[in-house]
């Protein structure tokens, strides 16, 4: 039998259904891969018992002749931003060390209800703040990829969903959850040669997902191909009365609706994304994407999104502002870490706990957020940023008069080495230059692998869609996937 860990979500689901193998065999195979990959540091907590219980339930249901659930037999990885009942959840921070949620996030509950099992909790940038997974309190995640020049420089798996991207590309799980605030699903997917989609804001409930920037945070799946993303997203999404921003809409049958034909569709190429200093290889990949979609029947149109260059600085006001408010809850009183210096009063306890419990990048963002919201600066920074956000959303609305989806690179470079950008916050922030605008506008967007650069590292193409048009995004992704023929995978060294 072929190695079961080479199979994706759809193949596992279908194989379990027809009895080609048991769900338990699948779970056991991935559990072994997880246990052998400690070097990658992708998992913070391993939960083989959860995966085995779900697998046994799937096998029992099949033996009893019952109809199997949509994800029966599929073990997944869960980003540690999702609260999981009885399983420690830290958002890769020290301040939440020892926190064991007494409740389950809606997104994870939806996945368990669909029959999925959990292999473990995945490492990430602390509180999802970072683009390289270097801000985790529990150490860097190493990308399974290495440059083909023979050098062994450890590479960033992207962030903030770096444990998810590393685990999927290293075959430690067939799919994983991610969250995307400014690109945290798409950029790590691009860095590791996998697919990932951020749905329209409001599709996935935020309830039980540790908050970073609530007007931007959105969960989504990361998997090896477009179909697998569609399957997982169907299970994750759905109306939730417990989240006031949850959209009261039925979940479309995205997998059933998959089509590789772009006939009659117009693909917009935003000219402002052609930034100065863009590596030639990214430019060439973008052109290939254009050619592939044209080959699939699409008409290509150039569009303009004039406020693109302001998206990143606006994001770095809005996201830290919301973070400074959301992270005020970590006070050393109700849960998590408490640091009480000898003789300290309440205010000193707050300050000591937060100084000790938050990492450098988290503190930096809380401070920026506090500054831009402070008396006298609020209008100049926060209100101005929210007005620019309106203009960015308006740019997209105008573009939709000319096209159905937009095509752009996912990130301005391939994966960089760990440590290469961590000294310069702005250089790190610039990683999200192509992903942040659609986040600010709440639009669905996905990254699919397009090819390799000269060093043998994956590069991703990004498709951005109209609000609620995940189907259009997935279909364009599928058209690219079929033409890109991306089969490269990291060779195991771990």
């Amino acid at each position: 039998m072929a190695d079961l860990t080479d199979l994706g979500v759809a193949a596992i689901r279908d194989g379990v259904r027809v009895g080609a193998f048991s769900a338990r065999e699948v779970a056991d195979a991935f559990i072994v891969n997880v246990s052998r990959a400690k070097q990658l540091n992708a998992f913070l907590v391993e939960t083989p018992e959860h995966a085995i219980a779900a697998a046994n339930a799937a096998d029992a249901a099949r033996a009893a002749g019952e109809t199997l659930k949509p994800l029966a037999g599929v073990p997944i990885g869960m980003k540690d931003l999702f609260c999981t009942r009885g399983v420690p959840t830290t958002a890769a921070s020290h301040i939440l060390e020892g926190f064991t949620p007494p409740y389950e996030s809606t997104v994870s509950q939806n996945l368990w209800d669909a029959g999925a099992g959990m292999l473990g909790k995945l490492n990430m940038d602390q509180f999802a703040m970072g683009s390289s997974n270097e801000t985790s309190y529990f150490g860097n995640v190493l990308s399974p990829w290495r440059r083909s020049d023979g050098g062994n420089a450890p590479l960033a798996p992207g962030g903030s969903s770096g444990g998810s991207s590393a685990a999927v590309s290293a075959r430690l799980c067939p799919g994983a959850t991610g969250t995307d605030t400014g690109g945290s699903i798409r950029q790590p997917a691009a860095f590791t040669g996998i697919s990932g989609i951020k749905p329209t804001y409001g599709r996935c409930s935020r309830w039980g997902t540790i908050a970073f920037a609530s007007s931007l945070d959105q969960a989504g799946p990361m998997a090896r191909d477009v179909r697998d993303c569609a399957i997982l997203l169907e299970a994750m999404a759905g109306f939730d009365p417990k989240d006031a921003t949850s959209l009261h809409l039925d979940v479309p049958a995205w997998e059933h609706g998959l089509s590789n034909s772009m006939a009659g569709k117009r693909v917009g190429v935003p000219k402002e994304y052609r930034v100065e200093g863009m590596p030639e290889e990214i430019e060439a990949l973008w052109q290939s994407g254009i050619d592939w979609l044209r080959d699939a029947g699409a008409e290509i149109v150039e569009v303009s999104l004039p406020h693109t260059k302001y998206a990143l600085p606006a994001y770095y006001i809005i996201a830290p502002a919301e973070a400074s408010s959301n992270l005020a809850r970590y006070d050393g009183v109700r849960y998590g870490l408490r640091d009480l210096p000898e003789g300290a009063g309440l205010q000193d306890m707050y300050a000591a706990t937060r100084a000790d419990g938050f990492g450098a990048e988290v503190k930096r963002r809380i401070m920026i957020g506090t500054y831009v919201l402070s008396a006298g600066f609020y209008d100049a920074y926060y209100t101005q940023a929210q007005k620019i956000r309106t203009l960015i959303a308006r740019d997209f609305e105008r573009a939709w008069e000319q096209c159905d989806v937009l095509l752009a690179p996912t990130a301005p470079s391939a994966a960089f080495a760990l440590g290469e950008k961590s000294a310069d916050p702005i250089a790190m922030y610039l990683n999200d230059v192509f992903t942040v605008p659609s986040s600010l506008a709440g639009l669905p967007a996905m990254s699919v692998p397009g090819g390799l650069d000269k060093a043998g590292l994956p590069l991703g193409l990004q498709i951005i869609g109209k609000p609620l048009d995940e189907q259009g995004v997935l279909n364009a992704g599928l058209a690219i996937e079929e033409r890109a023929g991306f089969t490269a995978r990291p060779e195991s060294w771990w």
């Binding site: 302001y310 300050a351 937060r354 920026i368 506090t370 940023a385 916050p425």
Partner: protein, 100 residues
């Protein structure tokens, strides 16, 4: 505008994050650099533009006015709520003395 060490200390105070003099001195140019980069937003003419309130139009819902509609977010779960408290006593969260 430039961010100096005193500003950093004031902001850290507002954010309830203890900070040493060295850290404040190290952070000042860093934050100054980031805020300087953000300042380019000032060049955009936003006269007459409404700030974004909600990114996807969505009506506010009301739920039925019933007690404990969701057992997990309703009442009567004190022990569950306090299970993760670093220090809890007799069903209360404890804090150091607040009044002098």
């Amino acid at each position: 505008m430039s961010v100096d060490t005193n500003t950093v200390k004031r902001i850290a105070g507002l954010a309830r994050i203890a900070i040493s003099d060295e850290d404040a001195a190290r952070l000042a140019p860093e934050l100054d650099n980031i805020l300087g980069w953000i300042e380019q937003l000032g060049e955009v003419d936003t006269a007459g533009v409404e700030p974004t309130a909600a990114v996807v139009p969505n009506a506010t819902r009301l739920r039925d006015d019933v007690i404990n509609a969701d057992p997990l977010t309703g009442g009567g779960i004190r022990d569950l709520l306090m299970a993760n408290a670093p220090e809890a006593e007799h069903g209360f969260f404890t804090v150091p003395k607040v009044i002098e």
